[in-house]
């Protein structure tokens, strides 16, 4: 492997994030709790600088570390999104952790560490590097899920996440080793050319594809690999849940698409069938089970499972499409969908975090009853997020669904779009139920000592960003559409 110092410049954002994480972890023990707030600002500043650097890297294509890492528009799209979401997470945590009385400075360190793992995942062009990134992301998230040390649910979430996560990593690694056996490389371009030179019926290749698909299936939380999601989402602190639901899913999609398009593109007839089945199962189960949830975080967990199903439609369309252009559209629709999903899901979790006040957990769906009277603005923003999650125009959620369905119809799968839309109607029921509780039911007796809901400044910024994303991209999606189209062209 050749190494040149210039390579370090290409991965400067990742290095900065890791450095900031180390500084946070080192400073934490020597600072008093009020001073630890500064760590949040340090993290935010780092993220802002990183986003600037990544934005300046757009438009080029460079390989670092002998091809282990590729800096291209595709990776930059995801890295930008991930840094942005991490920034929102820091802001959300800033007020939420105080409410939970979790004065843990290393929290921000873990946010940054897992972020660096995610950024490696989406920029890597080598299966082992991707694996390393995945592990770095997951190990930090396992710790974050268990941060509410006093609560058994949080510990259970952490343990469950760890056991199943480790298991899925093993499966992924096994798939990688099989693929290495069949192709003799872990580099995606080398794998692609090796596959092109041999019969696609090679059973070893098929087995490797299935194992890798299953390994990513866990990370993406698609049915039947979703079992951990509701428990972990419910048990983890809400700010961590938001981070997991959005950032880790986005990073997993980023790596997953690169592996299957750049590396295993020659096997697309095989994997598109696998993902077709997973997609339908995910849409059905995610949406139907969400109907009966009474805990908002569980409901959003199942909703996030269902949304992974919608994004998978784009993947299936890309695999089924005979034209190369059609494949590009399918992948672009996934990028768009996940980006829009990030805004609306993060916003919804931010409102849930806002409801956490004093003794009120704010996690039962019933807690939203009459929110329009108690906190009109919070209720209105939640309404926007729910409408967007249900995919009703003029919100970003609709635009995302529109592109995904368009890819499906183009690939000759209109029936898949019909199935997905029928389950979109099912999903509308549980999203609307929340709107109904907020707007059409009276709040319970408000006792003088029942806590007043306040939107802290940092939370307001988070909600403003999420709302702006949902509304502006719903009305004017053009910038993000062209960004996604440009990103996809970088995939080979």
């Amino acid at each position: 492997m050749t190494f040149s110092p210039g390579d370090l410049l290409l991965v400067l954002p990742e290095l900065l994030v890791v450095a900031a994480a180390c500084v946070v972890l080192a400073l934490d023990p020597v600072l008093t709790p009020p001073q630890r707030d500064g760590l949040a600002w340090l993290s935010l500043g780092t993220l802002a600088v990183c986003m600037g650097i990544i934005a300046s890297q757009m438009g080029q294509r460079a390989e670092a570390f002998g091809g282990l890492v590729v800096i291209d528009d595709y990776g930059c799209f995801w890295r930008l999104l991930l840094c942005f979401v991490a920034g929102l997470t820091v802001l959300l945590s800033y007020s939420y952790l105080k409410e939970e009385r979790l004065h843990i400075g290393e929290y921000y360190g873990f946010v940054l560490l897992s972020l660096s793992g995610m950024m490696v995942m989406v920029a890597a062009a080598d299966l082992l590097t991707i694996y390393l990134g995945t592990e770095l992301m997951s190990l930090s998230l396992y710790v974050m899920a268990g941060l509410k040390r006093a609560e058994s649910r949080s510990l259970e979430a952490s343990a469950k996440y760890f056991v199943l996560g480790a298991f899925s990593s093993g499966i992924l690694l096994y798939g990688i080793s099989l693929l290495y056996g069949a192709t003799g490389s872990t580099r995606l371009p080398a794998i692609a050319s090796a596959i092109a030179n041999q019969s696609p019926d090679n059973p070893l290749l098929l087995a490797a594809t299935i194992f890798i698909a299953a390994g990513f299936g866990f990370k993406l939380a698609v049915v039947p690999f979703h079992m951990w999601t509701p428990d972990v989402y419910q048990g983890a602190p809400t700010s961590v849940t938001a981070y997991m639901a959005v950032a880790s899913k986005a990073a997993s999609f980023g790596a997953f698409l690169r592996v299957f398009i750049e590396g295993l593109g020659g096997l697309k007839t095989d994997w598109s069938l696998i993902f077709l089945l997973l997609c339908i199962a995910t849409l059905v189960l995610g949406n139907v089970v969400a109907l009966v949830q009474t805990n908002i975080k569980r409901m959003l967990a199942y909703s996030s499972i269902a949304h992974a199903g919608y994004a998978l439609i784009g993947v299936v369309a890309a695999g089924r499409s005979t034209e190369s252009l059609g494949g590009v559209n399918g992948i672009a629709s996934v990028l768009l969908y996940i980006a829009f999903y990030a805004f609306m899901t993060f916003g919804a979790f931010a409102v849930v975090a806002m409801l956490r006040k004093g003794v009120v957990e704010g996690e039962e769906i019933e807690d939203f009853t009459g929110l329009a009277k108690r906190h009109p603005l919070g209720a209105f923003l939640m309404l926007i997020f729910m409408v967007s999650l249900a995919g009703i125009p003029p919100t970003a959620g609709f635009i995302g669904k529109f592109y995904v369905f368009m890819a499906a119809v183009e690939a000759g799968l209109p029936w898949l779009a019909v199935i997905a839309l029928i389950f979109a109607v099912v999903s509308a029921y549980y999203y609307l139920r929340l709107i109904m509780l907020m707007y059409m039911r009276e709040p319970g007796e408000l006792t003088p000592d029942s806590p007043r809901l306040v939107m802290s400044p940092s939370l307001s910024i988070v909600l403003a960003c999420a709302t702006a994303g949902v509304v502006i991209f719903g009305l004017y999606p053009r910038p993000l559409v062209s960004l996604a189209a440009q990103a996809v062209l970088a995939l080979k």
Binding site: L383, V387, I392, P393, P394, F398, F402, F405, M406, V409, E410, P414, A417, V418, L421, I422, A424, V425, A428, Y429, L432, I435, M436, Y439, M440, Y476, P477, R478, V481, S482, A485
Partner: protein, 519 residues
């Protein structure tokens, strides 16, 4: 035809901007500002009536801008003789909806008025959109405001009604989205409605698309057997909500048939015509029959809507000028008449807080002006000559007669039944002895309420006596649609000249010219 002034953009976005303004004004100013915006929108829409060139069949007042380059989705607006009357009907009705809600909506007034204005913008957008995706966005954007209006300000059973309304209409319209996408890839890779209406598509594709369109539009109309959401939604909705539902929202369904199903899918439309006519006749008779059995005023009007909308769909699928123009007339007429009836129910509900016919009897003595207006609307609903509905229903029946004598005969049963349930309702509500419990509350209509009712009364007689200005504006556009449904070889001249001979009995009141100008 590009006009320099962006009429339609202003029409759509003035109410939307007004809704935002309402969030920031003082409580006392909410109602006047909402009314002001609705009236301003009306005043902006009125010049279109005269600026409209009635000799053209194409789109006028067009505006176009690229919204998303890939796939090419345009912000593209325009009006023709089909959409112009519907847009003006919408702008006429909205100030009335604001006025009727002046006192009857007492809680969260700001939100209510804002939602009314949002709906106004979305409804005008539906009628003016010339891009299929833009149309779909406006079409769906109507749902959430209506869901909230029924769910927050509705009657006791509002939650059930509003969820039912929402899920029914959403389920119907999602298939439309797939159909739009399929049309894009099978057609010319365009979402432009006028361009799509010129394409030719294979028969099997047309049939699938027709069914998908049907799911969306039939639920909205609503056609039998998809009508069950309507009585629930109407009964629970506040008065303004009922008026918007009946007068405009239902028209979006029939407008969809006329704008999309007929011109884009002419072969499938013809193939499914017997089914559509059959369902329409069932709706006409069933709706009227159900209306006979109602003791709740709003439910009675809701079922009468099912019956009247049956006439509209019946007229659309006769494929001749009388039928389609009659249907279009009937869309406007139903908006006026049923809107008026719902306003009347709202007025009486504010006094007695009951919609039961049994509670609201004998109103002529205590409320003579009210009774007069109610009788006018009721007679218009029966389609008495001299009122607006007569023109529309007569034309629909004339068109149906050319298509099938049996269908026309069955449909005319609906008129007889309409006379039965309406007159019976009027007999009880207007005449009889008022119940002493409610007598003290029965003040006659206030000037504000009169102001909401009078414009519609004027329209009832204006269209009833002098429908020509409306018809001349419709002619070219409707002929344009009919031309699409004709076989390419215009050999069957005889079958199509027949309509010319069947002219309406030229009563002095309704000199309806029916020259089926061949395209």
């Amino acid at each position: 035809m590009t006009h320099s002034f962006p009429w339609l953009t202003v029409l759509i976005f003035l109410p939307l901007a007004g809704a935002i303004v309402l969030c920031f004004v003082k409580d006392a100013a909410v109602r006047p500002i909402a009314l002001g915006i609705a009236v301003a929108d009306l005043l902006i829409s009125l010049p279109l009536w005269w600026l409209f060139d009635a000799s053209l069949s194409g789109m006028q007042f067009t505006e176009q801008a690229v919204w998303i380059p890939s796939p090419p989705i345009h912000y593209s607006l325009g009006l023709d003789g089909i959409s112009l009357p519907l847009v003006i009907m919408t702008t006429v009705l909205m100030p009335l909806c604001v006025l009727i809600s002046w006192h009857s909506i007492a809680t969260r007034v700001r939100g209510f008025m804002a939602l009314l204005l949002i709906m106004e913008g979305a409804m005008i957008g539906v009628f003016a959109a010339l891009d299929f995706v833009l149309f779909y966005i406006f079409w769906e954007a109507m749902l959430i405001p209506m869901y909230l209006v029924i769910g927050i300000w509705g009657g006791p059973n509002r939650l059930y009604a509003t969820v039912k309304f929402f899920l029914y209409t959403l389920a119907g319209s999602v298939l439309l989205l797939v159909a739009i996408l399929a049309l894009y890839f099978q057609g010319d890779h365009t979402f432009d409605i006028p361009l799509l209406s010129q394409g030719t598509y294979s028969t099997s594709l047309q049939m699938w698309l027709f069914l998908a369109f049907f799911a969306a539009f039939a639920v909205k109309v609503p056609m039998f057997p998809f009508h069950t959401w309507l009585p629930d939604a109407h009964v629970e909705a506040p008065t303004a909500g009922s008026v918007i539902l009946a007068s405009v929202l239902l028209k979006m369904g029939t407008y969809g048939f006329l704008r999309f199903s007929l011109p884009i899918l002419p072969d499938a439309s013809k193939m499914f015509a017997p089914l559509m006519v059959g369902l329409s006749i069932v709706a006409i008779i069933y709706g009227a029959y159900m209306a006979l059995a109602q003791s709740d005023l709003k439910k009675l009007i809701a079922y009468s809507s099912v019956s009247h909308m049956g006439f509209v769909t019946l007229g659309l699928f006769t494929f001749n000028i009388q039928g389609i123009e009659g249907a279009l007339m009937q869309m406007v007429n139903h908006g006026i008449t049923t809107g008026g009836l719902f306003l009347c129910v709202g007025v009486i509900y504010e006094r007695t807080h009951s919609r039961q016919i049994a509670d609201n009897i004998g109103l002529t003595k205590p409320m003579p002006r009210y009774a007069t207006v109610l009788v006018i609307f009721a007679l218009s609903s029966i389609a008495l000559p001299g009122t607006n509905s007569f023109v529309g229903e007569f034309m629909v029946l004339a068109g149906t007669f050319l298509w099938s004598k049996l269908a026309a005969t069955l449909a005319s049963l609906g008129i007889i039944l309409a006379a039965a349930y309406m007159l019976w309702m009027v007999q009880r509500v207007a005449f009889g002895v008022p119940s002493p419990t409610f007598l003290p509350t029965l003040r006659d209509v206030s000037p504000r309420e009169m102001a909401t009712l009078i414009p519609l009364v004027v329209l009832v007689f204006w269209i009833g006596i002098f429908p020509n200005p409306l018809l001349t504006r419709m002619h070219p556009s409707v002929n344009h649609v009919i031309a699409r449904t004709l076989p390419p070889v215009p050999a069957q001249a005889t079958a199509l000249t027949e309509p010319d001979m069947l002219t309406l009995p030229s009563t002095d009141e309704s000199p309806v010219p029916l020259e089926a100008s061949r395209p």
